[in-house]
């Protein structure tokens, strides 16, 4: 079922094969790093255009080397580790963010087949049979980096940020996965290469059209939340949380977070292109020896378009409130994703089943809406501020108090934190 990379169909692991794999890995790494520096520059430039500013324009032509300069500066800055921090976890966290960001890119098909020295291979670092699950797994692991960075800082705002992050990313992962399933129903494979192959041809073969656009929109929203990008960036809401989970970080560790953030934007764009926009698919003019270039160009163009869209989001949309964010995730995205998945699955079998599924979805949806409305009306008792022994912790209200920073509410640790801050200053 899964068409494996033809590179490995030959006579086992020869030196040439090994070298090709090694080159693929190195190239992917280098390209991604380069792309990130470009992405940072692109974002700053595009945003400044949208805000009628000039943006970076001093280092290199059009300020292109600004990111490089910033990187060098960060590299030589003092590496601060807060006294209250958990040193090991504090140092570990940045890597837990960066490594998954790289790994996701490994399963993205960036082009078609290429033949070098009688070895035909796919332009993609790895094509495991459960490729798309690897993407989900890596985004699951990335949560740890954010959470642990906030916790290990031993500081109040980063901790709040990491609590928000864990809740947000876990919630939206469900919606994310559900929409991937809709794609899988049509492609019959978990391999990213197969998913791309199934969308070959003109644009109406793309999953965007075949799944009926809705899963793409839902996936886009969920992915934005998963990336903690605006308008879902409550994790690092500067006006509330100083700078979020990475407030206490400096120097190269901060650079790693920064790197990962933009790298994730690129890889998530690439994942969306792979799932819904046919990956490298597109018209290929018949130019000898250069046919292999066009898929890569198509792929790059699509990814850049998505990156631009993310920048646009950031410039145009106001940040959501935390409770709105959770409501959107659990009460809208997840039921809608499930419903659409059901419809697509039924439609694959026959239109009769599709009608049945439609009826079920309408019924379920109206029931759910009714229940949510009633739930909002129902009077809830005020909760105790913090659960003492024997009283149940109730995330809803208390979480809101913590995350929205209600003035009346004081965390037990706040006194201790204040003390420790004084100690540090002294």
């Amino acid at each position: 079922m899964t068409a494996a990379d033809p590179l490995f169909s030959g006579s086992g692991l020869t030196l040439a094969v090994f070298l090709i794999v090694l080159i693929k890995v190195v190239v992917a790494f280098a390209v991604l790093m380069g792309a990130v520096t470009m992405m940072i520059w692109f974002e700053r430039k595009a945003i400044s255009d949208m805000q009628s500013r000039i943006g970076p324009n001093r280092v290199g032509p059009w300020g292109l080397l600004q990111t490089l300069a910033d990187g060098i500066k960060l590299f030589f800055k003092e590496d601060l580790i807060p006294a209250e921090s958990d040193r090991f976890v504090f140092k570990l966290a940045p890597y837990l963010v960066v490594v998954p960001a790289f790994l996701i890119f490994a399963v993205i098909p960036v082009g078609g087949m290429v033949t070098i020295a009688h070895h035909t291979f796919q332009l993609q670092v790895a094509d495991p049979p459960m490729g798309i699950l690897l993407v989900l797994a890596c985004s699951g692991i990335a949560v740890y980096g954010v959470m642990l960075a906030g916790w290990a800082s031993g500081s109040k705002y980063p901790l709040m940020s990491s609590v928000r992050a864990s809740a947000q990313m876990v919630s939206y992962e469900a919606a994310l996965g559900m929409n991937v399933v809709t794609v899988l129903l049509l492609c019959n494979s978990l391999s990213t290469r197969d998913i791309v192959n199934a969308q070959g041809g003109a644009f109406w073969h793309w999953n965007l059209i075949r799944t009926g656009i809705v899963p793409f929109v839902l996936f886009l929203i969920a992915a934005t939340a998963e990336l903690n990008r605006p308008p879902f960036d409550v994790v690092e809401a500067d006006s509330e949380l100083v700078g979020g989970f990475n407030t206490e970080y400096s120097s190269i560790r901060f650079a790693l977070f920064y790197l990962a953030e933009f790298m994730n934007t690129i890889t998530m764009s690439a994942v969306m292109v792979t799932l819904f926009f046919g990956g490298p698919a597109g018209p290929i003019p018949n130019i000898p020896h250069l046919r292999w270039v066009f898929p890569i160009l198509w792929f790059t163009a699509k990814v850049v378009a998505f990156c631009f869209m993310y920048i646009w989001f950031r410039a145009a949309l106001p940040r959501m409130r935390y409770d709105q964010l959770m409501d959107l995730g659990w009460k809208k995205l997840i039921p809608l994703s499930l419903a659409w998945m059901l419809l697509v699955a039924a439609a694959i079998i026959s239109w009769r089943w599709a009608l049945v599924a439609l009826a079920a979805v309408v019924l379920g949806w109206s029931g759910l809406t009714w229940a949510f409305e009633l739930g909002a009306e129902r009077e809830l008792a005020d909760d105790a501020v913090l659960p003492t022994i024997g009283q149940r912790p109730l995330p809803g209200w208390e979480l809101r108090h913590i995350t929205d920073g209600d003035e009346d509410w004081e965390m037990d640790e706040s006194d201790e934190d204040a003390d420790s801050d004084e100690e540090v200053e002294a």
Binding site: N188, G367, W370, A371, L374, G375, G390, R392
Partner: protein, 496 residues
Amino acid sequence: MNHLALPTVSYAALAPILFLLLGGVALMVLSALSRRPLAAGTVTGYSVLIGFGALISALAEYGHVNGAGPSSTVASAIAVDGFSAAIAVTVSVVVILASLLSHGYLRRMQIDAPAYHVLALTSASGAIIMAAANDLVVLFLGLEILSIALYVLAALNRRSAKSEEAALKYFILGGFSSAIFLFGIAFTYGATGSTNLQVITRTLGEGVAAKPGLLLAGLGLLLVGFFFKVAAVPFHLWTPDVYEGAPTPVTGFMAAAAKVGGFAALLRVLLTAMPQLSTNWTPVVYSVAVATLIGGAVLMVVQRDAKRMLAYSSINHAGFLLVGIVAATSAGISADLFYLFTYSVTALATFGIVTMLAGPRDDDAGIDRLSGLARRHPAIGAAMAILLLAQAGVPFTTGFIAKFSVIEAVVGHGSIPLAIIAMASAAVAVFAYLRLVATLYRTEDIATVDLGYDDSLTDGPAAFAIGLSVVVTIFFGIFPAALLDFGRTAVAHLLP
């Protein structure tokens, strides 16, 4: 793409499970969609109706099996036989009685009635799944459906710290035992290559018999999991605390449903999947039975709290049920079936009365509170006395027939010492029960103190359920033949 051959599903055979599970889910949806909270009476009525639906479908299944013989359904994951039908009947009766018994309590304690009933119904479906499971995976899922609902039920009394403590203890120890049980399933699967009970039996005859180490380890871990669920000594330590802390109607439900489910599954696994290993498991069950009989009876005597005493009493009953397993004959199984049914009814009703007496906060079930009850409220005192005597095994009650048939079965099997120990433990237990009965009829200090339970005694549905249970206890105590035959026929149609 080739088509899936979906397994055939006999919905008639699954009807008791579906009634309870879907009934519970439907109630959940209804209560989420109704603008005003559902009235407690409506919910209780609904629950009783669902229980009756399950009862009728279980009886229909029983009748069907009597004609067509045992079979299995859904890719042989569920056994359709007399045994599972008989257990389904028992559980349905438990559901009906428990709904009636909890009605007044939920109102008094202002506990959300739909929540209780949803959890109780689904939990009961778990017990039936356990009994009907023909596959260890299904069995485990039934066990978890039963247990998880019970953990939450134990914490339902939000005003009582004891209730939370009970739930937490039950949850942690239960989770631990579930893990051990799962480990046992994994070992068994590793040794036999299947989780299906019939396939396990078949493979037992082949390569496994020569090197049974892994399978025996699996069996041992499975037994530990089972012994925990049915509260056999030495895995009983959670029982008194949980029984004491949980809301009293929940305790009754727990004592009945968990025990029925646990013993049904234990019987099926030992006697249909691993009868070839009986030389290995009999000594284990034998010694645990002895410990349970003695431990339950002796510790019962020293309790000062009615709920704790009844907890140890249920442990003692577990010992008797284990005696039936040691017998390992069809007489033993049918005796256990009879025992489970009658024990469930009496235990539920006893806890029902304790519910009425445990005070307005349901936090004091000290034996002193029963002092002179029969003088102040003759009817309830008499009912309590009868139920206690039935648990003690006094003639002309079901308790006597149950204990007698279990001991008869084990004597028939040739384990005379076990029979003697069982009788001795019964004698010790009788002392504890009689002391409680004597307390009921004490004449001194029925003084003017207000024990705070006069209101709770006028609880119509509970009184009706208790009355019904007393009638059942006495009727089948005098005319047990019909019920015993029911059990024997059920065992005759056990899926091999």
